[in-house]
Amino acid sequence: MTKNITCVTCPMGCGITVELNDNNEVISVSGNTCKRGELYAKNEVTHPQRSLATTVKVDGGVHNVVPCKSAGPLPKEKIFDCMAEINKACAKAPVKLGDVLVENVCGTGINIVATNHCPEA
């Protein structure tokens, strides 16, 4: 089986073809123009990952929500599960940039951290 993907590592946007065997193991990578592209392609076809940026509800802050991000990449297929868990969380103002708002989101081992401050109202 082959999979065609577009590399997003840099603005070049190379079209990469990855060949897989029946055990879903990578046999070959072609079309990439650098080593980073090869690595990205291998990850993308075996266990694609995405970083997530969203907001968390805040109680008593100047705004209703504070922005946050995953401290590392999350498995792509868990993005909506993570959103659901993050949407249940509620931080108490004041929130400081870097505060951990959700620990180990969906058992991924990744924390959700605040990416801005939210002072008390």
Binding site: P11, M12, T33
Partner: protein, 417 residues
């Protein structure tokens, strides 16, 4: 009347970087005027990551990128006033501004740095036909509602324009539970970054229709749908290709316009292509002591470049205030063919440093050559694997080369496929 050496109008990434650089260059009397409640500018609502790869070598969200500069402004004890709107810059570099606590401020500046940023093109500029129903807004307005206010501006969404803000909002609305029906792009290519097309559209199976536009908006009170149609090579809708799409929201991401009202009012010359001021290599306008940087000068693709450009303007303003700016003998720059514009538009050949010329192309190229000529003679030729309208390019003119030029010469940049 207040007195400052430098007044910076705008406390976003451009204004902060310019102020910090000016301070570093030895000017202590600096005041930043910011119209919003906090410093940071539009980055405060750009909560996605991807900022800072060039400048910091890490991938930050907008607020994080802004915060690094905000903390420096605090540490450097640079004065700033938020919730303060600059109303006017006068002939003699006086700035009038207004806020609730100080009332009307009259500030005499030696130098002024314009860093007001840009605004989104509204529906009217596109002349989209249809009703005036609620639910049509710019992508940036929707971004503020979702990311700052925490409210959904729509549930079934069509996005017109595949610039990065449009793409980012397609993903953002989807993550928050909206259904994004499609993104339409008038041009045959997207002006957004490839990575955004992959991560914001492909990941969520959101279709991108190229050479397609919205020709009608339906709904009396709230939008109930839009009609889209394919366009020909002259960007005119092709009869028979109309298609109705049910939606309650139309987000527009159809371009950014530098916000140059203050600039125009003081009589500064603007570049018709960039809609920003015409500047020299220190980003000084043709009004003595008034500098411009960031998106008010020309719309940038990456905030990292805004920071770099604003540092140049900050240094220029400091040199001006400290009397260190070299006497000027200008050559002009000119984009030819696919090169739509170049910033700066003029360069002082007496300048002691190298000068980077930033430019944008009007169409996409692969494995093209960027050629720079001086008075018709080729002086630089650089291979580029890829050039795209959405991405800013630059070439460096070394100082020894600059020194070999003479007054009123012309530098031209062109692209050969």
């Amino acid at each position: 009347m207040l007195n400052y050496d430098i007044v910076v109008i705008g406390g976003g990434p451009a204004g902060m970087a310019a102020a910090l650089k000016a301070k570093e260059c030895g000017v202590d009397s600096i005041l930043i005027l910011e119209r919003a409640e906090t410093l940071g500018g539009i980055l405060e609502q750009c909560i996605h990551t991807g900022f800072g790869l060039q400048y910091f070598g890490e991938e930050l969200s907008g607020p994080e990128y802004a915060d690094r500069f905000i903390q420096q402004v605090f540490r450097q004890k640079i004065e700033y006033k938020t919730d303060t709107m600059a109303l006017q810059v006068t002939e003699d570099n006086k700035v009038y501004a207004v806020n609730k606590t100080d009332g009307l401020l009259e500030i005499q500046a030696k130098a002024v740095i314009l860093a007001m940023g840009c605004r989104e093109r509204p529906r009217g500029a596109l002349n989209i036909a249809g009703t005036r129903a609620s639910g049509v807004m710019s992508a940036g307005t929707a971004q503020k509602y979702v990311n700052i206010d925490g409210y959904m501006p729509g549930k079934k969404v069509v996005i017109l324009g595949s610039g990065d803000i449009g793409l980012i909002m397609a993903r953002r609305m989807t993550l928050e539970g909206a259904k994004v029906e499609c993104v339409c792009e008038l041009m045959p290519y997207s002006s957004g970054l490839t990575r955004n097309i992959v991560q914001c559209l492909d990941d969520f199976n959101i279709p991108l229709y190229l050479s397609t536009t919205v020709i009608d908006i339906k709904g009396k009170d709230r939008v109930t749908g839009v009609t889209i149609a394919s366009v020909d090579e002259n960007r005119r809708p092709i009869p028979g290709t109309e298609r109705d799409i049910e939606c309650d929201t139309l987000l527009l991401s159809v371009g950014l316009i530098p916000e140059n009202e203050l600039t125009k009012n003081v009589g500064i010359s603007l570049d018709r292509v960039t809609s920003g001021a015409i500047v020299d290599e220190y980003r000084e306008t043709d009004h003595k002591g008034v500098f411009a940087c960031g998106n008010v000068l020309h719309v940038h693709d990456l905030v990292d470049f805004v920071t770099q450009e604003s540092q140049i303007a900050g240094e220029g303003a400091a040199k001006y205030v400290l009397g260190q700016k070299a006497e000027a003998e200008y050559i002009t720059t000119k984009g030819v063919g696919a090169v739509r514009y170049i910033v700066p538009q003029k360069v002082n050949i007496k300048n002691e440093g190298d000068v980077k010329l930033f430019f944008r192309v009007g169409s996409s190229f692969k494995n093209a050559t960027v050629k720079v000529s001086y008075n018709g003679q080729e002086i630089i030729s650089r291979k580029r694997p890829r050039l795209a309208p959405g991405e800013m390019e630059n070439v460096l003119i070394k100082n020894d080369m600059l020194k070999s030029f003479s007054k009123d010469g012309v530098i031209e940049i062109t692209v050969e496929a």
